[in-house]
């Protein structure tokens, strides 16, 4: 009898085990939140979940959400790698502004802003400036050994001033259809920002996960000195990571600013570093460093833009968005905190423990 019962029990316990594994996964709550939000939006606004093809382009609210996720995703990609090494990059918003300012100023001064070669040069210049900013951050962190928070804060403070210097305090506007394509064009019916973000995501994911780089990043995040002794070139690796983050921030700046073609040094990328950090946290990566989940970034970025859209769909004033960001951030952090887990376990044990004596009496 026991032999026939055993398989059943193991399946049940395996089911429970899988359930346990799923619910304990870092992404469980973010995914639940995302699906819940999407569902709520779908109920509140019929047609929200519809995706149609118009003029050969994908069209619909979901496509818009994906488009809006592109910038935070690009920023969060770089941020995630930096955080994996135990660092943080606060300068990404300012780097966005500088990169866009440099690109558009170059286009503005060019003979023919619509020339493809000129546009490519402008994009390359923007990315190079981002890489330069990242190299500065990296030098501060990896060579001088300054805390990442303060090292990148310097560029965050000064960066917006630098962007203003580049644009001479003006909002530089240019008209250049090829450049505009980066932000509002389509490739095979998919919005260009989404294509750029996803291609970048895949490239970074392959480089990080198919080479030893990801492991090096994590080992540096856990113990820089130990990984150096173990033969990881921690200085060079850390530096590389900040350069990558700077370049991706520049790319995000170009993608973000391309639809309007206006370099507003004061406002482009304002507070975006915080959005990027939020995406990383929502994606299940702890800020302590040492471990990171790239897949979570997709969920986090979608969650962020869905949240922003949901506020509008529920006809709440759009300026209350930070409030909901705060609530989600606090909820996810508290839900993930070991303290709450311990508290819940204690209450559960207490609940289970109380009826036990009654059963004994009955027996």
């Amino acid at each position: 009898m026991s032999t026939t019962a055993a398989p059943g029990r193991t399946t049940a316990s395996r089911g429970a085990e899988i359930w346990r594994e799923v619910t304990h996964h870092g992404l469980f709550w973010p995914v639940v939140a995302l699906l819940g939000l999407l569902l709520a939006c779908g109920v509140a606004s019929p047609g929200f979940l519809e995706v149609t093809v118009r003029d050969g382009h994908l069209f619909g609210q979901l496509v818009d959400l994906a488009r809006n996720s592109a910038t935070p995703l690009l920023l969060a990609l770089g941020m995630c790698l930096v955080i994996a090494t135990g660092g943080i990059d606060l300068s990404v918003g300012a780097v966005m502004a500088i990169a866009l300012a440099v690109s558009l100023t170059y286009l503005d001064g060019a003979a023919d802003p619509s020339d493809l070669g000129t546009v490519l040069t402008a994009v390359a210049l923007g990315l190079a400036v981002g890489a330069l900013g990242g190299a500065f951050n990296g030098a501060m962190v990896a060579v001088l050994g300054i805390q990442p928070f303060i090292a990148t804060m310097i560029l965050m403070v000064a960066g917006r001033g630098i962007a203003m210097l580049v644009t001479q305090g003006q909002i530089t506007t240019v008209s250049s259809p090829p450049f505009k394509t980066i932000g509002s064009g389509y490739l095979l019916g998919i919005p260009m920002p989404v294509v750029i973000a996803l291609v970048t995501f895949v490239v970074v994911a392959v480089v990080v996960r198919r080479t030893a780089l990801g492991m090096f990043l994590e080992s540096i995040g856990i113990n820089r000195e130990a990984s150096r002794l173990a033969g990881v070139r921690s200085r060079r690796t850390t530096w590389t990571v900040y350069v990558i983050a700077g370049t991706l921030a520049a790319l995000a700046g170009l993608v973000y600013g391309a639809p309007t073609m206006a370099a507003d040094a004061n406002n482009i990328g304002l507070m975006k570093e915080l959005d990027a950090i939020m995406v990383v946290v929502l994606g299940g990566t702890k800020l302590d460093g040492g471990r990171f989940y790239l897949g979570g970034l997709l969920v986090g970025a979608m969650l962020l833009s869905t949240l922003e859209r949901a506020v509008i769909i529920f006809q709440l004033p759009s300026q209350t968005t930070p409030l909901f960001k705060a609530v989600v951030l606090i909820a996810v952090c508290v839900a993930a905190s070991p303290t709450l887990r311990a508290m819940l376990r204690r209450t559960r044990r207490a609940v289970v423990a109380t009826p036990a004596p009654a059963e004994q009496v009955a027996a």
Binding site: Q147, V157, M164, L287, Q319, C333
Partner: protein, 349 residues
């Protein structure tokens, strides 16, 4: 043997020099960042005196000092609160948003017809609650200070937007009287004044100095920054958990006070005030010689840091440079001080 004898006569002098150097070094290392700040301050004042003095008026004057204090009183209060948090090795990103929230709340409470005293106390308490929230998240739920204060920053900013997205004018008679109150000394171009927000800011600085350097709580704050999660101060019989919650509550309260001072300064509340103000406060603390890793720093240095910060703006305005140069210069000064701190830290090791 012979070599030893040869060396011996020189020993006493060598040891005196050595001892003097060690005594000086021991003094210097803790004080060097602050001395750097004071030196910077002196250089800036010197440059200002050289370039902007006229036959009639000196640049360096009581008027300059009083204007610096009046214009930066809210920043001084914020930076003092931030010093507590940074000394424990934490960070508080919420203060700028709290300033905006408090300003709008004050405006709204006056519209609702609440008396002046209630409004002022409630304004400060809003900050206290925000700080307490961060403290509980950091201590009880073990969330990094960075992310906890980030969440509260979003929260305060969102709440401020809920109160109003437009600038609200504060035209309460009592509040206006408080904002306008001042004692003027001297006459004409050399006149200077004392006003209420300046007195509040100086009082906060003095209280913070006494608390940090002369109380058991102050020792706990420094102990928490030692980097062993408060294990050492626990062994010393001090209370790490309580202290950690308190420093954030203090920082929040200071943000509340700063919010009131900022409202006094602008006589209005606006939801976009204070964007980046937390960074100004952090920059002032760092320029003032407090190490961001915690454990080392002086709150009076923070006072000097705020002065440096204010002077940069004054010099740039006098020089006729565009305002965005301010941020570039502040970045450069920040860079210089961070590198200085780093060099000192390497020496210590």
């Amino acid at each position: 043997m012979s070599a030893d004898q040869l060396v011996r006569p020189e020993r006493p002098t060598a040891s005196v020099v050595h001892r003097a150097r060690r005594a000086l070094g021991g003094f210097d290392r803790r004080m060097l960042p602050v001395l750097g700040t004071l030196l910077t301050l002196a250089i800036m004042l010197g440059v200002g005196q050289e370039r902007y003095s006229t036959d009639r008026v000196d640049f360096v004057s009581m008027k300059l000092l009083s204007n610096l204090l009046v214009d930066n009183s809210y920043l001084l209060v914020l930076a003092v609160g931030m010093t507590f948090v940074i000394l424990t090795g934490g960070i508080d990103l919420s203060v700028g948003a709290v300033v905006a929230l408090v300003g709008l709340a004050i405006a709204q409470m006056f519209t609702a017809g609440l008396p002046l005293a209630v409004v002022l106390v409630a304004g400060v308490l809003i900050g206290t609650i925000c700080g307490l929230l961060i403290g509980v998240m950091v201590q009880v739920f073990d969330i990094q200070p960075f992310i906890a204060s980030l969440a509260v920053m979003f929260l305060a900013r969102g709440l401020a937007n809920v109160v109003s997205v437009n600038s609200l004018k504060i035209d309460d008679a009592g509040f206006s009287a408080l904002a306008a109150w001042n004692i003027t000394f001297g006459e004409g171009r050399t006149s200077w004044r004392i006003n209420a927000s300046m007195l509040v800011a100086l009082a906060v600085l003095v209280i913070a100095f006494v608390v940090l350097h002369h109380t058991r709580f102050g020792r706990s704050v420094y102990g928490l920054g030692a980097g062993d999660q408060g294990a050492a101060i626990n062994l010393m019989g001090l209370r790490p958990a309580r202290t950690r919650i308190w420093v954030y509550t203090i920082s929040g309260t200071c943000a509340g006070v700063a919010g009131v001072l900022f409202a006094l300064y602008t006589k209005s509340g606006f939801n976009l005030t204070g964007i980046g103000m937390e960074l100004d406060a952090i920059a002032a603390v760092v320029i003032g010689g407090t190490l961001l890793s915690g454990g080392t720093g002086f709150v009076l240095g923070t006072g000097a840091g705020v002065m440096v910060y204010g002077l940069i703006q004054v010099l740039i305005a006098r020089e006729g440079l565009d305002s965005w140069w301010t941020r570039v210069f502040i970045g450069a000064v920040l860079l210089a001080f961070v590198v200085l701190q780093r060099v000192l830290a390497v020496r210590r090791r």
